[in-house]
Structures are given as C-alpha cells and as structure tokens.
C-alpha cells in the first residue's frame, strides 16, 4: 500500500466559504475537496487572494465553512461549536505560523510546554516531551533561550517543535519560510519533510515560495477559490536531501 492509498487523516468535501457582509460579501472558496494522507508533505500554492489562507483556516478548524464537510482524524466537524472545534484542534492539529507566534515572555522549552499544557499534559512528563521535541528540531542547546535571543530560523524551529510535541495527526503550516532567508527556509522545509515521513501524520504547507517545491510529495494549486491542479512528486524527498547536501557542500567549499 502506498502513502496515497493509506486512510486519509483529513478529508474536506465541497468546502465553500463566504466572507463579508451585504454587498461586500464574497465567495472565497467555491467548493474545494481534498484529502491529506499520512506520510505526505503537501504544498498548497496559489496567488494572493486565491483562498489559500481561508482554506487553511477551515482545515485547521479556526473558521467554519459556509458549505461542505470536514473530517479530521476520523472526526467530523459537523455540529461542533467553538469549544468542540478547539478540542479537536488541540487533539489533532499542529500549527506553524508565518511569524512563528511564539510567546516572547516564555523560553523555547516553555513555549513548547505551553502547547502541551493546553492539552492538559503537565509535570515532568511534559517537560521531557517538550525537550524531546526541541532535540528533534536541533535546538537541544537552546532550551532556556527566549525568542528574542533566537534567530528567525531557530524561532521557526521552536514553532515546529511546539506543533510536533502534541503528536498531531495533521500539521498545518502557513508560509513557513516567508520570513526566513534561503538557508533557514530550506532547513525548516527539510525538517517538515522529515516530520511528514511519519506514517501517522500529514503535513500541509501553504506557500508561494518556489524554494519549497522540491520538498513536497504533492502540490495542490488553488485559484479563485478552487483547486485547479494537483501534482504528485514521488521522488520529492530524496531530491530534497540531495539538494541540502549539495548546498552544504557548496557552503563548505
């Protein structure tokens, strides 16, 4: 069974979303259907105003669709109120934001622990899990550092660790490389592609950064609120590793 054949962890059917009021009301999404499969890094690409962020907000249970249905990790969102959606988010979804959204008054470790605390995971076990997540993203030596003392790339890695710590079924990233330089952008995408190898998890990244394409298993293209194309890149991850190795070699030369 290929990854694509595995049962999906996220399934959206005919999602439509209307935004605004009265004469200013617009249909931002016009019937989007997609599935996210475990073990895959999917990119959602499209021009500004195409509906990328609206779709991400709906898939992340932050916005509710005007029409259509959504199911995450086997649970339908139909009939869930704000608290029910919040519970689904903390159980099954990890977020990575363009501007990292770290808490400036908390250390890297505390930022990760906060996400666990929200899930009701506390005490020494939560500390171990937070540290493990930070080790996984290569920040073993920055546990006690505050965001202000971390580079942009390091801050985004803390955000990845925060999303990862709760072992979500779906990780959603909003322009994860937009605020990073080329090297850090590639490092973060490499990290996401490694995370996506976990057969229990799907990763979706909204981006318009072409540097991210080599890391993807699948690319969805959205325009005017509709998915207009899908490209599967079976060899994507290997290509990425080669790319990273080549960049490192160049840098050392």
């Amino acid at each position: 069974m290929t990854d694509a054949d595995a049962p999906s962890v996220l399934e959206a059917r005919d999602i439509a979303k209307e935004l605004g009021q009265g004469a200013g009301r617009v249909r931002a999404l016009k019937g989007v259907s997609l599935t996210l499969n475990p073990g895959e890094l999917t990119l959602l690409m499209g021009p500004s105003g195409s509906g990328k962020t609206t779709l991400l907000s709906i898939l992340g249970c932050i916005l509710t669709p005007t029409e259509g249905s959504l199911s995450i990790a086997g649970q339908s969102t139909d009939g869930l109120g704000p608290e029910g959606l919040a519970a689904l988010r903390r159980r099954s979804i990890g977020f990575i934001f363009q501007s990292y959204n770290l808490f400036p008054t908390l250390t890297a470790e505390e930022n990760v622990r906060l996400a666990l605390d929200v899930r009701g995971e506390r005490g020494s076990e939560a500390i171990v899990r937070a540290q493990r997540a930070l080790h996984q993203v290569g920040l073993r030596h920055k546990l006690k550092s505050y965001p202000a003392n971390l580079s942009g790339g390091e801050q985004q890695r803390v955000a990845v660790a925060r999303a990862l710590a709760g072992s979500p079924a779906v990780m959603l990233a909003d322009e994860p490389t937009a605020a990073l330089d080329s090297e850090n952008g590639i490092a973060v995408m490499q990290l996401l592609s490694e995370i996506a190898r976990d057969k229990s998890r799907a990763v979706l990244a909204v981006t318009h950064d072409p540097r991210t394409i080599p890391f993807a298993n699948r690319i969805l293209r959205i325009e005017d609120g509709l998915i207009v194309g899908e490209e599967r890149r079976a060899e994507g991850v290997e290509t990425v590793h080669e790319l990273a190795r080549n960049r490192k070699r160049k840098a050392n030369a």
Binding site: S57, I62, E83, F95, Q98, S99, R122
Partner: protein, 375 residues
C-alpha cells in the same frame, strides 16, 4: 503554565505593572482608612455600653446615645430594684460640662460618675493610678489621649470643673468619645456635685438581672412600671447609639461611601490596565486559541494575572494602611485594623481584580483566532 504565563505577562511591562499596583494600593489604603475609621468610630460609640455590666439601661425618653441624655429621677432606680428578676440597679450620672485647664482656657468634657464598687461601669485600660484612687478627694481619671487637650501633663495635675477643683489620680488608654469630647471619670456623688445635679437625679440606671431571667421579659415589666422613662436592653441601646451617630448624622454613610468610592476607583484603574495589557497580548491569546486552548484556559490566565496583581497590590496597600493605623493609634480618631477587616480587604481586593478582569475576558472572547494567519 497559566500562572507562569500570567506572571510573565505581568512583569513583562514593568510600567504597566507599577500603574496597576499603584491603583490597587491607593484603593486598598483608601478603603482600609475609611473602614478603619468606621470601625474606630463604632468602637468609640459603643465602648461605654459594651464595657458596662448592665443587662438593661433605664434612661430618659428619647435618649439617642450615651453622651447626650437627660436626667431622670432616682425613683426609677428604686422601682427597678422592686421588680422581679432585678439583681442590682446601679445609678450612673453623665453630662457635658466645661473643664478649666490649669494653664487657662476651657474645653468641653463629658463627666461620667459611677461608683466603681457597684461594678456597673468603671474605667478600664488603666495605665496610671488605680480605680480605687477615685475615692480620694477631688479625684478624677482621664484618658491619656486627651492630656494635651485638657492642659495636663499627667497624674497629680489639677484643673477645675465648674467652680470645683479636680485632681487627676489615674489615666486610661484608648477610652475615647466619638464626639472627640474627653471623658472624665469620677464617683457618682462627685459627678453630681461637679454637674450641679440634684441628689435625687441621675442619668442612667444600669440593671443587672438575676440568673434565669430573660432581659426582654424584665424590660417589658420595667416598661410597664416606668411609663416616664425608656428601658432598653444592652443590644438595643448599642443599636440606637450606632444608628444615631453613624446613620442619622451621616458620618457612617460618609465613611462607607468613601470606602465604596475607593473600591470603584481601584476597580476602574485595574480594569483599565488589565484591559490594555490583554489588548497588547491579543495575538498571544489568539495563538493560544489556535493551539486549541479552551476559553476556560484563557480565563484562567487573565484571572491569574488579576489575582497576582491583587496579591501584590494588597501586600503593598496593607503595609501602608498598617503604618497609617499605627500612626493614628494615639489620636482622637483612631483607625482600627482587625483580622476580620484585613480578611475583608483581601476578599475585596480579589473581588475588585476579578471584576476588573471581566472587560479583558470579554475582549479576548471576541478575538478571531484567524488573526494568527494575518500577522
């Protein structure tokens, strides 16, 4: 983590923290002083009644408080003694009069005359001399708080009341009058003499009951026998005095009003700073919401922030309030602080901060978690 996050949010902006704490501090000090004055006034108003050993008080009709009473006839006392259930009926004389200071000038005093052997009412908190010393010629006792006002230096000094000489043989501490008029303790007969009161007159009869008799029942019996006088239980006389001074004169209402104002000002200041702090951290709260936190979790962060502010503000406010209480200890209008009042202030501080948190919580509840994608 909610307390950690609240603590860090609070200390992240030291200027705002200082404004919050100053707001709480002023509020606490204002409320503590107002309620402390109220308590002090209350204690002064009822101290004579509380310290008396009488179960029932017989007095002239319409007497509103201890100091301002008209004379009644000694017959009332004998009638009381002849009533079933009455163990003793002690006479007490009290009235305002002028005190001539030894160095010249006069001041108003309240002479309280009773025979301490009766045990009905005797000076307490005696810090110099002895109650038995009142038996000596011209002897009086005054409170040390009023020494300067009475033109005295201490025990042994003499002054004049009316045309008679009096000599201070003892001092008390903390027996003060709500009217700020010094009490002068002496014997019953000397009081009559100093006040030019006929020997068949007195101001109060303090009735002590035999064991097993209900105060209300004996009061009713006495009322039937003494149609020209008023008979009140100790509790009724306390209530009447308090109602007169604190509510009929408006003094208590002013003190309580000041305390309420302090609470309102404190609540507004804390609400404002907490609201603006929450506004500054709105993106973080939106992130928390996006991470899946329940609204209860966010409420706890904001309430913890309010609670920590309350604790810090209370500690600072109480230290200043206690200093003021200490400094007022020997003045004519002392501010009181009791464990009960301290507990009430703590509860009020937490209540004030919790109410202040409401605006911040309602702001957070209106945030759109989707804003995390728009930064």
């Amino acid at each position: 983590m909610t307390v950690t996050l609240a603590f860090r949010n609070l200390f992240h902006d030291r200027v705002r923290l200082a404004v919050t704490l100053i707001g709480i501090l002023f509020s606490i000090v204002l409320v503590a002083v107002q309620l402390g004055l109220y308590l002090g006034a209350r204690t002064m108003i009822i101290s004579m009644i509380d310290r008396s050993d009488g179960d029932l008080w017989i007095m002239a009709y319409g007497t509103k408080n201890f100091e301002e009473a008209q004379p009644i006839s000694t017959r009332e006392r004998f009638t009381a003694l002849a009533t079933p259930g009455v163990l003793s009926a002690s006479p007490l004389v009290t009235s305002f009069t002028d005190w001539r200071k030894p160095g010249g000038g006069t001041t108003l005093v309240v002479v309280v005359g009773t025979d301490y052997e009766d045990g009905a009412l005797a000076p307490w908190n005696v810090v110099a001399g002895d109650v038995t010393g009142l038996g000596a010629r011209d002897a009086v006792m005054v409170d040390k708080t009023y020494l300067a006002e009475l033109g005295l230096n201490g025990v042994g000094d003499t002054a004049q009341i009316g045309g008679s000489r009096v000599r201070v043989t003892g001092l008390t501490e903390g027996i003060r009058s709500f009217t700020v008029t010094p009490f002068v303790f002496t014997t019953l007969n000397r009081a009559r003499s100093l006040l030019n009161m006929p020997a068949d007159n007195l101001t109060y009869v303090l009735v002590k009951l035999q064991p097993g008799y209900e105060a209300e029942a004996v009061r009713d019996a006495l009322r039937a026998k003494l149609p020209d006088s008023e008979v009140l239980t100790k509790a009724e006389f306390r209530t009447r005095s308090l109602n007169h001074w604190l509510f009929a004169t408006g003094a208590g209402v002013a003190l309580i009003g000041g305390a309420v104002l302090g609470l309102v000002v404190g609540t507004v200041i804390v609400a404002q700073t907490l609201y603006s702090s929450t506004k500054d951290h709105l993106n973080e709260f939106a992130t928390l919401r996006a991470l899946g936190s329940s609204s209860g979790y966010i409420h706890r962060v904001i309430l913890a922030q309010a609670g920590l502010s309350a604790l810090l503000g209370y500690a600072l406010g109480m230290s200043i309030a206690l200093t003021i209480v200490y400094l007022s200890h020997n003045t004519a209008l002392p501010i009181m602080m009791t464990p009960g009042l301290a507990g009430l202030l703590l509860a009020l501080t937490f209540g004030m901060c919790a109410i202040s948190a409401v605006s911040a919580i309602s702001k957070v509840m209106r945030i759109d978690p989707a804003m995390v994608f728009n930064r």
